[in-house]
Subunit: 313 residues, 4 copies
């Protein structure tokens, strides 16, 4: 049972008072060893949300392979996680934009761990920019990572798994604006929408090979990578929190528990699904009359009287 | 070719300057007599958008039947339209919440005009209210009209048309928040979502009987019926216009042209479709970063510099 | 690591061979006592999926209240669950179509357990029928339970929780055809779509009161209630399994784990979300070219040659 | 008034009998000169749907510029249309995958006609193929045209129009599987989903510059370009027609009327909208129980009796 307390102790800084009614549960959720003998491959696993997912899956017994461009960052993360969980974490350099690099990375993984049971397409690039300032190269700098990179990783691993007659669970991290689009991040919106369509397509097509494909659409979760390029001045955060019904940002650990669930056998009947994970931000923005939350009880009384007195159309 | 002019002459009052680049074309769009020998049935056809649709369809040669609760209002509208277009308009009293009244109304129509070729479910009720203030009766006052009313009309006419082996085009007027939901209008959101599902269901099921089912989701269009109950103080209009990309409200005549198109043979391959008609309001609200339109060019320069200087994740 | 085995031992009867790559994990997923000191209210909790959810939540420490029309069925279920889990399960008679019955039921619950922390709107009615055979009463027999029933329960509990300044998690069980609609179950499609809009509306509106609202859209899960009315002859099951990418039906225990997750603090940042839970059936049906799974490798070779030899448009 | 006739004279070959209740109206719909003094730019305008749109817009008074790779095809089309309508049609070679070619093409157009008032992104590539057979190059061969090509054209024209303070209407031709995804055409599904997100993003962002962005999602319309690569053997057409509620394929002229409407001032309040144009195919595929259309009236009687006799859940 949970009520408003008179204190905001323990609130994330900047959070709304009612966020105390939505406290994050950040411990590992799944039963221990849920991923024992499982190999997990995570792109962009060295930082931010990728790192958080690798950590939880490693805690659950998985052997993780994390891959991105910066080998030093990956290695440091691998070491940190492994020293905490006792399970091996492998760091592989891989620029997902390059199909040959992807193929080479999978070769290396194959000798290290064998093919993966769980694949998480998490690597991405993004920055805010008015669309009229985007050069063709700026456009491609995002779509090449997010859409082509995801496709190259998915097709390469898919082919090899199919050849080996092995099943796997694929997860992609997209965003709440993949469906609605959003100004000022158009390349990211397009590329993430493309990823979602790819995943839904393969969920239908590759089920017969034992593959599942699911999607998480996160709302704002504070990571250096995302916030330094999406809220460089730090001024937009308050506005986000204001419109998020749960009154706070999400945490990497919460996302990681959801990702672990969707990648686990507990979710083996979930495929082609899209899970919004955003504290309610999307529905709050999209609903035409939600700004009426600013109306006070007294104003409501007055408006109700006016509405009642309306006659006819 | 259209450019910004230095004058706002001719703008709707309250519209943004750039709305001059989106001038409404309010003349009748379809070729004359497009609805000659066609019978059109419109619920709520005495006022607002229903009246506008009846007017345009009558101008295009249709014989219209308009039905709602207030017979005097309907009769006045019928007379007005008929005197303008020279085509017959029939007024029938009908409370769509009552299946027997609906059946009786269809009986009357059958003797007056025969069964309709075009059916427009436009009648509705709505008002803004915090959901915790809704009684069960308040809930039902909306859903009974919007969802049950639409269903009773649609099932009654559908059955008779099927029995007579006659095709028809059905159109429903819902709202942009039918999919997203919206606080403060929850009964309307639910009922309109129900209408959309009904229409999509029947588009699939009753095609074999010659029936098409389509949906228009309007954004804000100034009618007395809608605005007196959704913006009683007149204070919200500015906020809506601010976030509508085309910088103005829609007009009844624009909606009527779209409705005429979807109800005409030009659209005979359109079924199960949902057409948002809102000046872009929905995508503008829903996209997470659209508030950045408030950022000035100078601020963009500064932010771009900050983003570029970010290193790593 | 999971490969095709040469045996189909352990497959659900009727399942496709590749479903062995998607084995259900049916043990309880969340940590023990995740719902300790929590009160859970489930409509339709005496049978089928409702019973499965009550069982898992009770295993996790919750005190459950299950409510529907048949008190004897509820009492038997309550006893069964309690004897298995050792936690109290209360049975309350309640026809959700009747607002007074709902209010009375909540009164009773208040004295038994206090207001709930978790509410699951699971009660429903449904049957297959060509829409032209539906009477107004048949239409209302479904929408009154599903849409009005859900609204009455939600508004009644919401108001009281708000008054007590207490947060809660709401979950609704809808269906994969709520968004797409479906012929032959139009009343259910409409009512479930209405429930989804209600939940999204309240997710946005009532976050400030500490309430979350989420939705699960199940695909086919064999329960007596659903299958006796949706597949009375048992002939459609094979067709469903054929098009479900994971090659099998879902199980009540899998759904219950998902429901427990969404109702738990692990999901406290999830609100306004819709989770499809269907083995991939929806994307498989909806994608225009998915029937090409019937094409054999040899036929592909031939078609590829034909496509390659095409010149121009 | 339209009833089933006893003859199938005039039916498209292969169409279902009830398609006579959905006859295509193929004459030009908009008032003459609706596009007088307007410049229209259409990619892929030399063939198929692009050619049909150019024809109708030219008939309505527009000066058209059509652009794609094959200059000879474009020139022949330009001549054909111009000789029919009397309005100038310009043919420009342009591979949309190449940003420099796009920029050069726009330069040429600027001297020929000035910047366009209407832009239609219609160029595309597609072919059916199991995803496990796709090489990275095959993937890129589609996404480079469809997604990057659309982006390059849109950004280039957008920038110049913004600089000139001129409004324009943008239209993209996507597909019904952009949202749902589809196996066997995954690159096309992804790229088209990306186009939709781009358009919705810009609808929100560039409204202030006088730009509208809308989308048509066609179902199957017989063009050489599409059908030779999507149904090379001609065997799938029957299956499509079977599940299309209107019982026939769409025609290029019908699509062209819709495209003209959305590009005209009659639609100046439509932006960020997605119009499905598919004879109802999408809802028919997606709805879980739509296959019950195969059940005969006698079988329904039997099933209704079985359902009625069911007791309890
Ligand atoms: N945080 C949020 O609020 C939020 C919200 C919505 C969605 N998301 C999504 O969540 C995911 C993780 O984001 P994050 O917040 O954790 O930010 P992040 O720390 O910047 O993560 C992005 C990762 O992608 C990797 N990456 C970038 N380009 C790559 C390339 N070419 N090849 C391989 N890897 C590459 C980066 O590593 P290297 O630099 O070493 O290559 C980095 O580890 C992204 O998909 C993002 O779109 C985040
Ligand atoms: N205007 C907007 O901004 C807007 C936006 C989105 C959607 N819409 C939709 O557009 C449609 C028309 O709205 P409007 O703006 O034109 O408002 P309106 O003038 O108030 O139209 C509503 C009509 O419904 C009729 N009606 C109400 N209850 C009825 C009943 N029980 N039986 C039969 N008819 C009934 C009313 O006539 P009686 O009083 O004579 O019964 C009235 O003519 C509605 O469906 C509305 O939801 C409007
Ligand atoms: N099983 C599936 O494949 C499937 C698929 C999609 C969605 N669903 C959804 O899952 C939920 C559970 O279905 P199920 O398969 O478990 O079938 P079920 O056993 O028939 O469950 C329906 C429950 O609703 C209760 N109920 C019906 N009318 C009621 C009323 N007026 N007031 C209160 N309770 C009422 C019934 O109890 P009483 O008879 O005692 O009132 C029954 O316990 C439903 O919402 C259903 O739509 C199921
Ligand atoms: N027909 C259908 O059933 C259907 C269904 C859904 C969607 N669509 C969409 O409708 C649009 C038109 O298709 P369609 O059926 O008319 O087929 P189509 O005749 O093959 O049209 C495709 C056009 O795109 C042009 N194109 C291809 N690559 C290009 C490039 N790199 N640069 C510039 N132009 C290029 C082609 O011209 P060049 O070869 O000269 O470059 C051709 O004119 C496409 O977007 C398609 O996806 C069609």
């Amino acid at each position: 049972m949970r009520r408003f307390r008179n204190t905001s102790a323990g609130l994330q800084s900047g959070s709304a008072p009612h966020s105390q009614l939505f406290p994050p549960a950040e411990g590992v959720m799944l039963p221990p060893e849920s991923f024992k003998n499982r190999v997990v491959f995570i792109t962009g696993g060295g930082t931010g949300l990728g790192r958080a997912m690798a950590t939880v899956l490693s805690q659950l017994g998985a052997q993780c392979v994390i891959a991105s461009r910066k080998l030093d960052v990956l290695q440091q993360t691998a070491e940190d996680i492994c020293s905490r969980t006792g399970n091996k974490v492998h760091a592989l350099q891989c620029d997902v934009r390059d199909p040959q690099a992807v193929s080479h990375c999978v070769d290396q993984m194959t000798s290290l761990t064998g093919l993966p049971d769980v694949i998480i397409n998490n690597a991405a690039g993004n920055f805010i920019c008015p669309s009229e300032r985007l050069s063709p190269n700026a456009w491609k700098s995002i779509t090449d990572i997010v859409l082509n990179g995801t496709a190259f990783v998915t097709l390469e691993l898919g082919k090899r798994l199919i050849q080996d007659q092995r099943g796997a669970s694929f997860l992609a991290i997209t965003t709440i604006y993949a469906e609605s689009g959003s100004g000022f991040v158009a390349p990211s919106a397009s590329a993430k929408a493309g990823v979602e369509a790819l995943y839904k397509s393969l969920a239908a097509e590759w089920g017969r090979y034992g593959h599942r494909f699911n999607i998480i659409q996160p709302g704002p979760i504070k990571t250096k990578g995302a916030f330094s390029r999406l809220d460089p001045t730090g001024k937009f955060e308050k506005g986000m929190i204001d419109r998020i019904p749960t009154g706070r940002l999400g945490t990497p650990a919460e996302l990681a528990n959801l990702a672990a669930y969707l990648s686990s056998d507990y979710a083996s009947w979930i495929s082609g699904a899209v899970m919004r994970f955003d504290g309610g931000e999307y529905v709050s923005m999209a609903g035409e009359f939600n700004d009426l939350r600013r109306v006070t009880p007294d104003q409501w009384k007055m408006m109700e009287a006016m509405i009642r007195s309306t006659k006819g159309s």
